[in-house]
């Protein structure tokens, strides 16, 4: 599983890498600090899954999810956000985001969510 982290927080990037450390067949291919860079990196690195923050400069997670659904429907999205209210989750779901994890998260929950979203069709 190739994972791209789209998040402006170095803490989250570290936390995701740490959670996936040593897992066979799992590679974190990079970190994009905003959605615009993230879209470029998706085209370059062809991840299977992206973890996507909501609040980011330049291009936020909602806008990024919309473009991903259109340009790269094969890429699965796990939205990671400090906020998890129902309205936000409904907006994300409407854009095809199937899994949502709120921060802070346990490493085991992240791993489970990533494998779960990868299995989604």
């Amino acid at each position: 599983m190739r994972v791209l982290v789209i998040d402006d927080s170095p803490f989250i990037f570290k936390a995701v890498k740490k959670a996936l450390e040593g897992m066979e067949g799992v590679v974190v291919v990079g970190n994009a600090p905003n959605g615009q860079v993230g879209l470029d990196m998706v085209a370059e690195h062809h991840p299977d899954v992206v973890t996507l923050d909501v609040t980011m400069p330049v291009m936020d997670g909602i806008a990024t999810a919309e473009i991903l659904a259109s340009r790269h429907p094969e890429v699965k999205v796990l939205m990671l956000s400090a906020m998890g209210d129902e309205d936000l989750m409904a907006r994300a779901k409407a854009l095809g985001v199937r899994r949502f994890l709120t921060k802070p998260f346990e490493a085991a929950d992240l791993r489970q969510a990533l494998f779960s979203v990868l299995r989604d069709r």
Binding site: P57, G84, D85, E86, D87
Partner: protein, 158 residues
């Protein structure tokens, strides 16, 4: 929309701070009965709260002794940080998560309010004074293993 209970907003915010400190940093923050005193070197983080409705806004301000900020962010990192930049960025992420946790509960309680967070601004130094007038707020104080924190929560227009 129903009348908003300000005490609920303040209590939810305070609970979020304690919960995130424990969950993300594995550290306990103990509420103080009376105002504490911050030392010389401080780290302070501010996030703004915005909505689509004009006039409804707010902010969270967390001021910490530098030692406490280091302790919390080391807890988040699982060990010593690489440098001062990490201290500041992780402190920003800490308050971002606190704000997110609080606003999730608040937004779910008061549907239609839809508070969102602005990116954090981080300040550090000795003798720092941060003032945020024009917002009704409540201040609570906490003690951690390596210092004191002042949590100033403001909501305006509600």
């Amino acid at each position: 929309m129903e009348n908003i209970d300000r005490d609920f907003l303040y209590a939810t915010s305070a609970e979020a701070l304690i919960s995130v400190a424990r969950g993300a940093a594995e550290r306990d923050l103990v509420p103080l009965e009376s105002p504490g005193e911050l030392g010389g070197e401080k780290v302070a983080v501010v996030v703004g709260l915005v909505t689509r409705e004009p006039g409804k806004k707010g902010r969270f301000l967390l001021e910490m002794d530098q030692g406490l900020a280091e302790d919390l962010t080391e807890g988040m990192n699982g060990g010593p940080l690489d440098d001062a930049t990490e201290l500041y960025l992780f402190s920003g992420e800490l308050l971002n998560m606190v704000g997110g946790k609080a606003l999730t509960v608040i937004n779910n309680r008061y549907r239609g309010l839809e508070y969102r967070l602005t990116p954090p601004a981080i300040f550090a130094g000795k003798g720092l004074e941060i003032l945020t007038p024009l917002v009704r707020s409540q201040v609570t104080w906490y003690r951690g293993a390596r210092g004191v924190a002042r949590f100033d929560v403001g909501f305006e227009g509600v």
